[in-house]
């Protein structure tokens, strides 16, 4: 009995240590963002609640917020595009049979096997020749293309797992295909859509090298690029101010997750990735 207890304690200790080591840098960022430079010099490792110094945020906000705005715009449009195109196509592949279906699907899935390194330079030249450099379309349109296959894979698997009897019953009742899709299938799909959206947003939100080469105008830069160049901006090379900037940059996804957590967890548990 006592051995079982020891094992349980070791398990808790392991998880807590892992989480502590993971969260410390994040907490470090948070409490340093409200320190003054003087307080940082005296007390580097621990929070200092005696003198909360919000000025850092005042300095950082005007520098970081425009990048957050750009990232929100690019991510939302990319994910909306991915969802619209992939949900429609996944539904077609899951529900209908038509000539060439297998080959067309394989072609779409094959795009997942093409690594970005190979397409990086030619894609850049393509976007340049299309006159899209220094525009958000340079990020959104290729972003949709790259994200399609994975979203389609998850959604098709999910659509196929929906009880067919339910759909047949609706059809016998005379419901049209589009109504079945909107009123029956779509509500059931919410967790999977949340999962696909969050995974797609994470990818778009973190994308670094592609926006780095396609966007050089500062006012159009997305968050990762903006942050990487933050050091060069006057007034923000102070350590505490940078931490305030990083903190601001971290807020949007955390907020999004608070709203989407439940369906996202359900989607992952529904076996989004089974192997």
């Amino acid at each position: 009995m006592s051995m079982r207890k020891t094992a349980e304690i070791i398990r808790y200790a392991f998880v807590i240590l892992m989480l502590a080591a993971t969260f410390y840098p994040i907490l470090f960022m948070l409490f340093t963002s409200v320190k003054s430079t003087g307080s940082l010099a005296i007390n580097f490792f621990l929070p200092d609640f005696t003198a909360v110094h919000f000025e850092n945020f005042k300095t950082a906000a005007p520098k970081v917020l425009p990048y957050i705005g750009n990232s929100v715009k690019v991510s939302l449009l990319t994910v909306a595009g991915i969802l619209f195109v992939s949900a429609g196509s996944a539904y077609i592949f899951a529900r209908f049979t038509f000539p060439g279906k297998a080959i067309l699907y394989q072609l779409l899935m094959a795009t997942m096997m093409i690594p970005i390194v190979l397409t990086f330079v030619p894609s850049y030249l393509l976007v340049r020749d299309l006159g899209l450099l220094n525009s958000h379309s340079a990020l959104i349109l290729p972003g949709i293309a790259v994200g399609l296959a994975f979203a389609m894979l998850l959604l098709r698997t999910f659509f196929e797992s929906i009880d067919q009897g339910l759909i047949e019953a609706a059809r016998i009742d005379g419901a049209r295909e589009i109504r079945i899709l909107l009123q029956l299938v779509l509500p059931l799909t919410v967790p999977m859509i949340a999962t696909v959206s969050i995974l797609s947003i994470l990818r778009t939100w973190n994308d670094f090298l592609w926006p780095l080469v396609t966007i050089s105008r500062d006012s159009l830069r997305t968050l990762p690029i903006g942050l990487a160049f933050l050091v060069d901006k006057p007034g923000s090379n102070q350590f505490t101010v940078m931490m305030a900037g990083y903190t601001l940059a971290s807020i949007p996804l955390v907020v999004l997750f608070l709203f989407a957590m439940k369906p996202f967890m359900d989607g992952i548990n529904a076996g989004a990735i089974k192997g």
């Binding site: 094992a7 349980e8 398990r11 392991f14 998880v15 892992m18 989480l19 080591a21 993971t22 969260f23 840098p25 994040i26 470090f28 580097f44 490792f45 992939s86 196509s89 077609i92 209908f96 038509f98 000539p99 067309l104 072609l107 795009t111 096997m113 690594p115 390194v117 190979l118 397409t119 990086f120 330079v121 030619p122 894609s123 030249l125 393509l126 349109l141 949709i144 293309a145 399609l148 296959a149 389609m152 994470l202 670094f208 090298l209 080469v213 968050l223 990762p224 942050l227 990487a228 940078m242 990083y246 940059a249 971290s250 996804l253 955390v254 967890m265 076996g271 990735i273 089974k274 192997g275």
Partner: protein, 299 residues
Amino acid sequence: MRHTLKSVYKARYLYLFLLIPFAFIALFIFYPFFRGFQISLLDWSGGNRTEFVGFDNYRELFWNEPLLGRAVRNILILAVAGILQAVGISFLMAWVIHHIRSAKSKYVMRIFVIVPSLIPAIVGYLLWKKFYEPEGLVNRLLGLVGLDFLQQAWLGDVSVVVTAIVFAGFPWLNGANTLIYLAGFLQIPKEMYEAAKIDGATSWRTLWHLEIPMLAGQTRILLLLSLISLLQNYDNVFLLTRGGPMDASVVPGILLYKNAFLFGRYGYASAIGVSLFAFIFILSLLSMRLSKESGEKVS
């Protein structure tokens, strides 16, 4: 024939919709894919003047590129370490959490596991870059525990820079992968655990003979995806060192980036891209074949 035509006609609206995804992937994936091969045979700096040079770019890359050996060595080190981090740590974490008894603790832990992955990756890298500075967190921490002799300019020293890049992000908790494994653990039938218990199997035996084989599917996918993404990855290297100091931490991606966007050598950069693609492709095939064989052995 007539029948096929008829069913094609019947499905005309479906094809019409599918035109949208195909337009996207044709323009932004397949076209650049083939173009990459073509450009790699050119001497081209992006302007109007191009010259077909056959395999000269490849010859230069494999015979005359002074940084090739180091780039390959570095990416292999980073990829192996990265796989252990992304797959090994995630499995370990999921295994430990799965066996914790309180359902409530498990639920809370799952949330805490996913939250750090919401912090933008770039913030993580930039934080670690700060931590590695001579007056940064790592050196201060070493001083605090009396290991002063280990203090150094982590990203500025040729001999430790790659180790420092591997170590960045410690303890490498990967939220998404851990959740994928956790979901896999939940799918193992209760009866199998009970049978193992009745047989008197220890946790180690259960792990080795039941859990690892039952999660082989997840492991296979995560291994393959990590391998593909790690071999072409250079975000972290770019942000931490840009390949420096003195090219000590160069990886193929950095080589490609510099040749294309600093030196304007699109042909040569494309040759690097094609070679890297071939390398990734062969390794993926190998790993798929290997994991398939081991999968068959288990079942």
